[in-house]
């Protein structure tokens, strides 16, 4: 199972802060495409992604047990 986390505007778009997906090994890019088509989310291609709390590339692998967070442009401070 893969845990997916949404924040800020994406969380409002998704209508929830997180969801679980039963998926085999995939990539950040494939996961983004899948979520954009299954949920009505736009702009995932413009957000950063963290896999297990570290920034990841679209080509990075995602496997069962991972937590994938989509990180819109940050605005702390």
């Amino acid at each position: 199972m893969i845990t997916v986390l949404f924040f800020a505007e994406l969380q409002e778009q998704a209508g929830k802060p997180q969801l679980e997906l039963e998926l085999g090994e995939t990539t950040v890019r494939e996961l983004k495409e899948r979520l954009e088509s299954t949920l009505k989310i736009t702009g995932l291609n413009r957000t950063m992604t963290a896999v297990n709390e570290e920034y990841a590339l679209d080509s990075d692998a995602v496997k069962t047990g991972d937590t994938v967070a989509f990180i819109p442009p940050v605005s702390g401070g």
Partner: protein, 158 residues
């Protein structure tokens, strides 16, 4: 961190606490940066703000900023606390405290910390104005995040 130098909290941030965290007999200079909720931004009036964070990762990234600073300014000690939740005008959103034997490094490292917070720490701000609300993205306005690959390679090199 035994001392919890890098934290995210829903409670008000007492500035003195951060100062105490970095105080040391070898330090002659402590700088703090206190980010507060501003009422007016480009003629628009803010009623209140809401901060959200990906807390475990935010704490980790704050600590990373501390590590970066320790590498660039070896004699410096840093503590950062960021508040989340609903904040009213003049409430403190973030406090950065830096101590150093000499003042130049204390200023430089402190400014470096706030710049890095605005780049890599997963915290978001929602502005509530009189006539609406919106999540604020990318205060630096320097990156457009094409293809979701910002500066990851660069970040990994740090």
């Amino acid at each position: 961190m035994a001392e919890e130098l890098f934290t995210v909290t829903e409670a008000p941030i007492p500035v003195e606490d951060l100062v105490k965290k970095v105080e040391r007999p070898e330090a002659g200079a402590i700088t703090t940066f206190i980010g507060t909720v501003r009422e007016w931004t480009k003629g628009k009036r803010t009623e209140y703000l809401e901060y959200q964070a990906y807390v475990p990762m935010a704490v980790k990234k704050l600590a990373e900023i501390g590590d970066e600073i320790a590498e660039k300014w070896p004699d410096v000690k840093t503590a950062i606390t960021h508040r989340i939740g609903r904040l009213e005008i003049s409430d403190i959103a973030v406090v950065i405290a830096v101590s150093s034997p000499h003042r130049k490094a204390a200023y430089e490292a402190n400014e470096y910390a706030i710049e890095r917070i605005k780049q890599i720490v997963p915290i978001w701000k929602k502005e509530h104005w009189e006539d609406g609300e919106t999540w604020i993205g990318d205060q630096l306005e320097t990156t457009s995040y094409p293809k979701g690959k910002p500066n990851i390679e660069e970040e990994r090199k740090r």
